[in-house]
């Protein structure tokens, strides 16, 4: 995978002229079909629904204003915003911190094993992680039950009080997702020239100073990348609150996130147009974040 050949070949523009355009189209045709059918069409379709009513009449922004006026909408926005604050803060602080610590471990084998072990919960992404955390949060069966009781929580119900949910969802998301990001940050740290680190050491910089003044600034674009993807993903919160609300009989987590609200509009309230309006808003957030990132960062140089 990590071939040493650089992308020099790409600069050889004359080569590309020889290629018949048709062939390129043949190779991408199937992909373009999928892109249109499962990317473009649903987007356009959702936009159409968002701006019309049940009778297919154009209604302007009324679906958007109606959805925003729903009593569940503002709380859902607040929930997701609060969750994002916790989730992004945890991700930046701990992922960067752990990657730096792992990178300093002298014994490579230990570092590699730890990275792998941190990554394992990634296998439980989705519903499985929520199952595990439902157990972990039930003081009667939890392996950290003693800790929960010491903090004054004796029942599952107490622990999943509405005020705790943002932190709990952050824990679940961090548990499944952080390992992958640690691997990425570690890889980025490996890319920092040893000469720079050595120069810093000779100049008398300790590990703390090296991290703050050299490593973290050089990691910046990776941190930005992580935050952007995590932000876009975080706005889409669905499976955790949905399963938690199932596990608590709708006490906690019902209509917690915007995606749940969109789902309920579509399937409980039979209001497809309202559901589409929320979807379009969420899509717009994802699209803007992605487009800005592609355009502004030099990350993906689409040559």
């Amino acid at each position: 995978m990590s071939s040493t050949s650089t992308r020099a070949g790409r600069t050889g523009a004359p080569f590309s002229r020889r290629i018949a355009p048709r062939a390129g189209h043949g190779f991408v045709a199937a992909y373009v079909v999928l892109l249109i059918v499962f990317g473009v069409v649903p987007t356009v379709y959702a936009i159409y629904f968002a701006f019309t009513n049940a009778g297919n009449r154009f209604t302007g922004l009324s679906n958007f204003t109606a959805a925003a006026a729903d009593f569940r909408f503002i709380p859902a926005v607040e929930h997701v915003a609060l969750y994002l604050v916790f989730w992004l803060a945890a991700l930046v602080v701990f992922v960067v911190g752990l990657a730096l610590l792992l990178h300093r471990l002298a014994v490579r084998g230990v570092s590699r094993s730890l990275r792998f072990l941190y990554y394992i919960p990634g296998a439980l992404a989705g519903a499985a992680s929520v199952m595990v955390w439902l157990f972990l949060l039930d003081p009667t069966v939890s392996p950290i039950g003693f800790l929960l009781r010491a903090l004054g929580y004796d029942t599952f119900g107490q622990l999943i009080a509405p005020g705790h949910l943002a932190v709990l969802f952050t824990c679940i998301a961090f548990w499944t997702g952080a390992g992958g990001w640690i691997v990425v940050m570690y890889g980025a740290l490996n890319n920092i020239s040893t000469d720079i680190l050595e120069a810093a050491r000779i100049d008398g910089a300790g590990p703390w100073r090296t991290a703050r003044q050299i490593e973290i600034p050089l990691l910046r674009k990776w941190i930005v990348y992580m935050v952007i993807l995590a932000f876009a993903g975080g706005t889409q919160l669905f499976v955790e609150p949905q399963l938690l609300s199932q596990a608590s009989n709708g006490v906690a987590g019902r209509d917690y996130s915007l995606n749940q609200l969109s789902y309920d509009f579509a399937f409980q309230n039979n209001n497809v147009n309202g559901a589409a309006a929320i979807s379009v808003e969420l899509m717009l957030i994802g699209l803007i974040v992605a487009a800005v990132f592609v355009a502004r960062s030099r990350f993906f140089d689409a040559d």
Partner: protein
Amino acid sequence: MPTDTRRPALPVPSGTARGARPRRREQPRRAGRRMLPNPLAAVVLMLFLLFFVVPVLWLVLAATKTDGQLVQSNPLAFGSWHALRVNWDKLTAYQSDAIFLWLRNSAVYSFGALVITLCVAIPAGYALAMTEFRGRRALLVATLVVMLMPNTTLVVPLFLEINAVHLIGSMWSIILPYAFYPFGVYLTYIYFSTALPRELLDAARLDGCSEFGAFTRVALPLAAPIVALVGFFSFVANWTNYFLPYVMLPQSSQFPVQVGLGTLLDNVPQFNPTVGSLAVQRPELALATLLAIIPVLVVFLFSQRFLVAGLLAGATKG
């Protein structure tokens, strides 16, 4: 979030590998690395190790206990083989083998989509990297943008679309959206543009290969690593997807195992006191969760090496 790995959020940076950097792997001591980690660092690393690993360990052990043992015995103690056996029998008896049906559904959806993804994404990534055609740049940018959007964004719109063509409940309503995997195209694009010298293709063309021949005879034989990589990500993303099948599939008999877990959860009396005779005990739910993740876990274990080294494509040089 579960982006994370929900859609494996591992990027493959292209630009970072540039710049010749002396390698000093052989040096016994790299700058900034200490032989003995300081105690505080060791404690932090250990605490996080516990945080990440203990829940997994607990899950494995929980499947070997009775519900009573789950509450009373040490959380990290092994139950008994007998209890595991009983849990297994009761779990498989649930709706007569529903768990196997769900696992089979998951396998059909994941592998079906995987095959299509590979057939579609490998040629597309190859063409984006190695050929020139009108609209190439636009396609590349579109791929990047869609790839960065969380895959849950399109679920409700997809439902509306699939509903309009009356495919709700068909397995294709799951497989085809899964098969659309821009991240795979991007990975392939990066792979071919860094690993396949254009001279090689030109030589093949001079020797009379058609464009298609150059692809099958030169590019494909070199594509094994990228096929594995795209396959890995696509499989994990599809297997762990919850929202799409939850929305698309009306019947329990069509659920993939992730959605099936939700059904089991609804029947656990401790979480839902209203369940009657269908009750599922907590250790059975733990066992079901374990069964649901085993395929992904196995893939993880076998691909550990290339996960760490290969995933980062350009990013790591180590």
